[in-house]
Amino acid sequence: MKCRKCGAPAALELRRHNAAFCASDFLDFFRNQVREAIRRHRMFARGERVLVAVSGGKDSLALWDVLLDDGYDATGLYLDLGIFDYSVESKAKCEAFATARGARLVIARVADEVGAPVPVIKHVTRRPPCSGCGLSKRYLMNRVALEHGMDVVATGHNLDDEAATLFGSVMHWQTDALPRQSPALPSTHPKLVRRVKPLYRLSERETAAYAFLRRIDYIVEECPFARGATSIAHKEILNRMEEASPGAKHNFLFGFLEKARPAFERAEGAVLQECARCGQATTGTVCAFCKLSDQVKRAAGGGAAAPDR
C-alpha cells in the first residue's frame, strides 16, 4: 500500500476515504482536517483563549498538540474524577504533556466541587457512572472557563464519539438532544461559554494514529467504569457497519449535520436562566449539577457505604 500523496510506503489506510498515507502526509492530513473544522464552524480565532479539556487520552492530547503547534492560546483543563489508579495515571499523562510542551494546565477535582468523587456519585445515584461523570464534567468545564476568562471550551470528541451519540439519540428519539449535537455550540447565555469539537471530522482510529506517530504518551487503558457503557455498544454496532460499508459513520453524522439538524434546531425553544443556587445557566430553577451535589451530600450525611472498586 502506497501513500496517495508521495508514493512512499503507507503507514495508515483510511478506507472511508479510499486512500492511504505515509506518516508525514497523514499528520498533514490530520492537521488540515482540524483546521477545516475550526474554519468551517468559526470555532475560534487567533488571540482567543481556548480551554482544552484533557483527559490524558489520545483524543484530547492530540487536539491540544495540534492547537499548540498551530500557535493557538490553548490552556489545558484536567478534571480529576477520582477514579482510583485510572485518574492518577491519566493526570500524570496530562501533567507530563503540559511540562514537555511548556503549556499551562488547570486542574480541578470533582470531589471538591460535588462533594465526592465519581465512584461515590455512581454509588449514591445508582445511575450509570457515565451520567454523573458527564454532567459534572460539562458543568465544571463551563465554570472553570468562566472563572479563567476563557473564550471557548474545546473537547476531543471525534467522529466516532459524535456518531455514537447521534445513534443513541436517534434510537431513543431524544429530539431535545438532537439540536445540541453540533461541532460548535454557541454561547446562548452570558454564563455559558461556547463549546467546540475540532476533531469531529476525524475517526478515533485516526486520532490514535496521530497520537502514536507524534509519540504522545497517552493513557491506553480505558476508564474502568466505561465497560458495558451503552455508548461503547453503539460504537461497536457502528464499527460493524463501517466494516461492511466504509464511510457509514461519516455519512450518518455528516448527513445529520447538513440535512436533519437544522429542522430540529428550529424546533428547539429552551430558555436559559441562572441557577438559583450557583448562578450557572440552566433550564430550570436549580441546575442538575446542584441537584446532583445535594443528592451526594445527603447520602454522605446518611452514611453512604464505600463504593465498589
Binding site: 458527564g134 482510529r205 465497560r227
Partner: protein, 170 residues
C-alpha cells in the same frame, strides 16, 4: 508470532507469514478498532507479518461519553425505577403478525437503486483526500483566513487572490 493485546494486557501466539488483515480476521478483530504496531511503526492491513514478529494491537475505542442527561437527574432516577408503560402493549403486539413484514419481504427481492452508485463511488478516492493533496502545496486555508481576518473587515468583503475549491468532506 507474538501478538500483544490490551485492556487487559495479554499476549497470544499466532502463526506468522500472513498478512495483517488475515491475522485480524482470525482473532475476530475489526481493523477499524485497532492500530497495528510493529516496533515504532504502524503496519497496514496488506503487509506481511513474519513468524518472529512481535506486534501490538492497540485498541482505539475510548468509551463512556459522559451520558446525555436531558432531564434533571432527580427525574431520571425516578423514571429508572418505574416499569415502562409500553411493556403491556409490546407483549400484546408480539402475538400479532406485523403488517410491515409482507412489504419488507417484497422489497428484499428488489435490487436497491443505490447499490450501483455506491459500488461506483467506492472505487473513487474521497474528495477530502484530493483536497488534502491539493492543500499540501498551499499554505493552510485556516492560516490564510486568520491572517486576512487579523488585517481588517470580514472575509466576505475580501475576494481571495486565488479561487479556492473547497469541497465538503463527504
Amino acid at each position: 508470532m507474538r501478538v500483544v493485546l490490551r485492556n487487559p494486557r495479554r499476549e497470544v501466539e499466532v502463526a506468522g507469514n500472513r498478512r495483517v488483515k488475515d491475522v485480524l480476521r482470525d482473532l475476530d478483530i475489526l481493523p477499524e478498532t485497532v492500530l497495528v504496531i510493529r516496533g515504532d511503526d504502524l503496519v497496514t492491513a496488506d503487509q506481511m507479518l513474519r513468524d518472529d514478529d512481535v506486534i501490538e494491537l492497540r485498541p482505539v475505542m475510548s468509551g463512556g461519553l459522559g451520558g446525555r442527561i436531558t432531564a434533571p437527574l432527580g427525574d431520571a432516577v425516578e423514571r429508572s425505577r418505574e416499569p415502562s408503560e409500553a411493556v403491556g402493549d409490546a407483549v400484546e403486539r408480539s402475538r400479532e403478525p406485523s403488517e410491515a413484514v409482507g412489504d419488507a419481504v417484497e422489497r428484499s427481492h428488489e435490487p436497491s437503486e443505490a447499490v450501483g452508485d455506491a459500488v461506483e463511488r467506492s472505487r473513487e478516492p474521497s474528495e477530502a483526500v484530493d483536497d488534502a493533496v491539493e492543500r499540501s502545496h498551499e499554505p493552510s486555508e485556516a492560516v490564510g483566513d486568520a491572517v486576512e481576518r487579523s488585517h481588517g473587515p470580514s472575509e466576505a468583503g475580501h475576494p481571495r487572490s486565488k479561487p479556492v475549491s473547497r469541497t465538503p468532506l463527504q
